[in-house]
Each structure stands twice: as structure tokens, then as C-alpha cells.
Subunit: 384 residues, 2 copies
């Protein structure tokens, strides 16, 4: 391979891109305004995506999965490039943050009960780590899971949970041991268990079609077989999967940037002011040039790191650099894309307006810019 990019355009992945593009234009783009209004995606979209095989990427064949992490990234990219959004991908693919721990643990009953249906698009999965009192500081969560015979009794609250109002089950981080990260376990909590409540559907700046829940667990009982992996290994499991989430967010940021460069270019070509198309003004040309430069550099770096990560290399710090690079490029591009659109850039009917709001979450979710810098600094400098 002469370039990190090639892997993303094999013949198979070109075909995948075309399929996803068709799917996006047919099933997503015409409905997106209504979903943004409704505040959620319909279940039928998960089923349709599953028919196309989009929900099985990076999941094991024994749970119905097929395709790898790069395929998942290509699908994310193409949904955004074809007129979808990171709101759509975050909700449609919430199983890629909610179910991988289960897949990795490999318990056959759990695979059949939870992973297989999400791959088939018939169940929706969420990840419940963040709490009102603690986000970045995952090791400080206070939701408790007390062992009681063959059950765990879970009490506590989670917030900002993507797909949490629709989820059939949530992979919940709960304290089974002492304080700190060594006392955390992951448990599958079905949303129809008594004591499980969606306390609120949160209203957000963007990601409007992606429902976000505050959840309350009031002595929710789940069988012990809902424990994922070993007791008190939850923190490690979360951290391992965080890297794929971060790469996903990085890929989404790059795709959003790429889409917005295209949209801004188009607008600059058709809009005339003072008798001259914007695309002929030097200031606009240089804006677009810089938008393109940042996007392409971020895309190449993100793809390079993704390939290394997928090949099993230890690239935690590089993943953090990839996320921050992609987010910075995206932040810059969506802002300039709005600016180039002038007043239209502020209107909800304009696609770049949505990307501007949607993408503001990318430097916060899955580990903030500052937490990424902590990771990079630790690799570079050691612990303080």
C-alpha cells in the first residue's frame, strides 16, 4: 500500500460506498428534516440498514456480523457525504458503542440475546457510562450494582445516553467493587426491567434526530448472566472500546468537513455579489483552500491511524491526536462554510447550518479535546 487512503477505496469498499450512498439518498435524506423534528430515528431505519448489512460491521460472524472496522468507517463517511449527518450515524450506530464490549466478551447467550438482534436491526443498544456528576472522570461513577444471589441490583443515574430513550438495553457501567476505576463493572440492563426509567429526553444544540436520555435506575434487578466479562473489569473494557469510538468520531468529523467544503464550494460558485461570483474573490478562494487543506490532512492522518489501530498496533495517543486533528479541522470548516453562506448559513433550511450545530459535540463526546491532550501528554511526558 502506498497511501493510507487506498484501504478505503478497495473495489469492495467502492461498492459499499455506492450502496450506502443510495441508501442514504433514498432512506435518509428525504426523511431527515422530519426526524430532526421528531427528535429520533424510526426503528424501521435500523431494520433497513441491517438488510444492507450496515449494522454487522466489526461484529463477529457468530453473532451475525460481517465486515470490519474500516467498513464501518466507510459507512459512517458515506452517510455523511451523501447528505446524512453525524446525528444520524450516532443514533443508527449507537450499537457500535453499546454492544462491542458484549461481542468482545463473547458469552454465547449474550451474543444471541443482545448482539445478534442489534446486528439484525431489531434491538437498539446504548452505552451508559456518563453520570450527572461525572463524565471525563469515568473512574468516579457512583451508580451501584449490588450482588444479591443470582442477581445484581442497580441503583443510580446516567445522562447524555445516545439512543437511550429508544434502547432495548443499555450497557451500564456500575460500581461493583471499591472506589476508583478498579471497582467498575459493565452490566446489560434491559429497558423493560422494573425500576428502569427514562427520566428525560434531553434537548440539545444539534444531533436533533439522535435521542439523548437521562436514565434512572431504581433498584433495577438483572440476572448475573447480564454481567459483561469479569466483575470489576469494566473500566478496562470501556477504555479499550473508547478508541474505536474516538476513531469513529474522528472519521465523522472529517466526513462532515469534506461535505461542508463541497457545499461551500457549490454556494460560492452560484452566489454573486457586486457582480462577481464569490468563488472568484481571493478571500473566499483562500478560505476554501484552507478548508480543503485542513480536511485532507486530517483525513489522511485519521485513516493512517485507523489502519494501524485496526491492525492491532498500540496507538492510543495517535487515536487522541487523530480525534483532535479531525475535530479542529471540522470546527474550522463548518464555521467558514456557514460564513460563506452569509445569512443563509444561519437558516435551518441550509445543510451547513445543521452540520455546524451537529459537529460541536465532536470535541466533547467520546472524550473531550482536553482529555485527548491528557492522553497525548502522558505518552509524551509520562505521568505528571
Amino acid at each position: 500500500m502506498t497511501s493510507a487512503n487506498e484501504l478505503w477505496y478497495t473495489d469492495e469498499r467502492r461498492a459499499l460506498r455506492e450502496a450506502v450512498r443510495g441508501f442514504t439518498r433514498r432512506e435518509i435524506v428525504p426523511n431527515l428534516p422530519a426526524w430532526e423534528e421528531a427528535g429520533e430515528l424510526p426503528r424501521s431505519l435500523h431494520e433497513k440498514a441491517a438488510e444492507l448489512g450496515l449494522l454487522g460491521f466489526d461484529f463477529p460472524e457468530k453473532a451475525g456480523g460481517e465486515g470490519d472496522f474500516i467498513d464501518l468507517m466507510v459507512a459512517n463517511e458515506e452517510i455523511i457525504l451523501a447528505g446524512g449527518s453525524t446525528g444520524v450515524t450516532s443514533a443508527l450506530f449507537s450499537h457500535t458503542i453499546g454492544a462491542p464490549h458484549i461481542a468482545a466478551a463473547g458469552d454465547p447467550w449474550q451474543l444471541d440475546e443482545f448482539v445478534r438482534p442489534v446486528v439484525a436491526g431489531t434491538k437498539i443498544a446504548s452505552l451508559g457510562v456518563t453520570e450527572p456528576g461525572t463524565g471525563s472522570d469515568v473512574g468516579s461513577i457512583t451508580t451501584r450494582a449490588m450482588r444479591d444471589g443470582d442477581e445484581y441490583v442497580i441503583t443510580g443515574g446516567k445522562t447524555f445516553i445516545t439512543s437511550g430513550t429508544r434502547a432495548d438495553f443499555v450497557t451500564v457501567a456500575a460500581r461493583t467493587g471499591g472506589p476508583g476505576h478498579r471497582g467498575v463493572s459493565l452490566l446489560i440492563v434491559e429497558s423493560d426491567r422494573p425500576g428502569f426509567t427514562v427520566a428525560s429526553r434531553l434537548k440539545k444544540m444539534g444531533w436533533l434526530c439522535s435521542d439523548t436520555a437521562e436514565l434512572v435506575f431504581d433498584q433495577v434487578r438483572v440476572p448475573a448472566r447480564n454481567l459483561i466479562g469479569q466483575e470489576n473489569t469494566g473500566f478496562l473494557q470501556i477504555m479499550q472500546r473508547f478508541e474505536s469510538e474516538r476513531l469513529t468520531l474522528a472519521v465523522q468529523a472529517v466526513a462532515t468537513a469534506e461535505r461542508c467544503v463541497g457545499l461551500a464550494k457549490e454556494h460560492a460558485t452560484v452566489r454573486t455579489t457586486f457582480g462577481v461570483p464569490l468563488a472568484e474573490r481571493q478571500v473566499i478562494r483562500h478560505k476554501l483552500a484552507e478548508m480543503q487543506r485542513q480536511t485532507m490532512v486530517a483525513r489522511t492522518y485519521v485513516r493512517d491511524v485507523t489502519a494501524r489501530w485496526a491492525a492491532g498496533e498500540d496507538v492510543g495517543a495517535e487515536v487522541a491526536m487523530a480525534k483532535n486533528t479531525a475535530v479542529a479541522a471540522c470546527d474550522f470548516v463548518v464555521d467558514e462554510a456557514v460564513q460563506i453562506h452569509g445569512g443563509m448559513g444561519y437558516m435551518r433550511e441550509t445543510e451547513v447550518e445543521r452540520h455546524y450545530r451537529d459537529s460541536r459535540i465532536l470535541g466533547i463526546g467520546g472524550g473531550t479535546n482536553e482529555i485527548m491532550n491528557e492522553i497525548i501528554a502522558k505518552r509524551l511526558l509520562g505521568a505528571p
Copy 2:
């Protein structure tokens, strides 16, 4: 005076600040979420603001006005600092962009018919310059006003008109002469004239409580006495008043930044991660320091230029520099304020989230960042 700031804190203006603060906390803050939802301010707010004398600033006494432009700026500032928003000020004070041309022209009938009632809060005024085909390029507007006996017949369309769905009258820029800026006049168009339609209420990124209209004029007849000033002097009148609009937007940007520094500081003080309040982390401290620096520098510069402008100096380029400086500071601050709030910064219940969306318009409305640079460059370099 030893500092540009003093003028903003005379005894009278300290009292004004306190009055506006009380008004904002009592009348605005508790209702703002509902107005954001409704997409407009109630007329009663204009009446209440008028009772306090807030709508008469910078309008002549013979039309019921009292107080000057600095008073108006202080009122703008204080509404935002006390928990209001630029959405509120843009809609509540839309008469400060819609009616000054009438006040300056000084026709007694127009003063009584239009200016007096807006100062009393019983009529709402808008400014209609921008058209779908032309924004920055004001000289290219295509809305026509044809003289027909004692009337003008107006045909065309305007868009992005603040308060336009509620307005009792709109100060409309229309072409009465040949092409270019020399053929433009300003005419008062009452919204109950046959042929005047609100074609749509635009959905926006922010300024949700500030209604924004697309207007269509289909052979709307207005009496010739609705002409503001002389025929074909509209462009000059618009350009003269643009400077006060730009200073107002600059003051709003600074106040938004100041408010958000305060909110971010407060959050950083109460939020603990990894056992330590955010306000003790060096990265957060330096963010807040830089936010404060940019805000204070912008505030001082904007106030200095405002004082010079109010004293009648020719400071068109400085006004442009003030607007761009204030907008850049505000953009930086609202972004970091959201970031410091983490996931909460993305939630609609969080005040900085609203400021983030609201303030994105400030670098677009009233002349974009790029148009400001054109003005500065022209002063510095001459015409190209």
C-alpha cells in the same frame, strides 16, 4: 475622561443599568424559554420596555425620545449581562434599525405616525433591505417602487427581516431610479397594506425568540408621504445608519462574551473532575484568562470607537474594526464556554448553549466580517 469606559458608568448610567437589570430579571429571564419556543417576543414586552423609557434612546424628543446612543448601548449590554440575549435585544430594539432613518429625516407627520408609537412600544418597526438575491451588495436590490400619481407601487421581496412577522411597518429599500446605489429610496410600508405578505417565518440556528421574515410585496401602494427623505438617497441613509447597527452588534458581542466568561467561570468553580475543581486546572485557568483578555480588549476598543462615533467623528473604518474585534472575541469565548461546560454545554437548558447559537449571526448581520474588512482595507489602501 481618563478611560473610554467611564462614559458607560456615569451615575445616571449606573442607575439605568440597575433598572434594566431588574427589568430583565423580572420580565425577560423567566419568560425567555417560552419566547424561544414561540419564536417571537410578545407585544407586551415592547410596552413594558417603553414604560421604562428603553425604547426612546437615541430618538428625538419631538417624537417622544429621551436619552442618547450610549444609553441605548448600556441597555443592550445590561439585558444580555442580566440573563437576556442578543435574540431579545435584536427583536425588542428592531426599531433602532427600522426607524432611525425616519427620525433623521424629521418629517413631522412621519415622526408622529411612526416614530412616536415605536418609542411608546405600541408599534413595531422593521428594516427591509436584504433580498434573496442580494445582501452585502445593497446597491443591487431589485424591489421596485414606481411612482403613480400620489402613490408609490412597490413590487419585490425582502428576506431575513428582523421582527418582520410582527412589524406594523417596514422601512423598505426600493429602487425608484436607475441601477446601482444611486437609484435606491427608503419607503415606509405598513404591514396592513393590500399586497403585503409575510411569505414565511424563517427557522434559524439561534435568535429563536427574534422572528425573522421573508416578505413579499405585490403591487403594494403607499402614499408618497411615506417616502423617507429625498428620492434616490436611500443608499446613503442606509449606510449612515449601518454604523450604529454595527456598533450595536459589537456591543452585543462584547456583552455576550462578558456574560459567558462569567458563566464559564462559575461552572469551572463548581465542577470537579478527578477530584479537583476545573478552576484549579491550568488549562482551564488559561482558557478563562484568554477569554477575559479578549473580552476586555474588545470592550475597551468598542467603547472608545462608540464614544468617538457618538461625538460625530468620521470613524467608519474604526466601527468596522470594532465589530470584527468584538465578534472574534465573542466567537472565541462562546466556543470555549461551551467546551468548559462539557456535555452540559451542548444542552439547551444551559445558557451558554443559547449564546453559542445566538452569537453566530453577529459576524454575518449588519455587514459581514468580510465586508468590514473591505471597509477597513479601503480606508487603509484606497479603492483597488
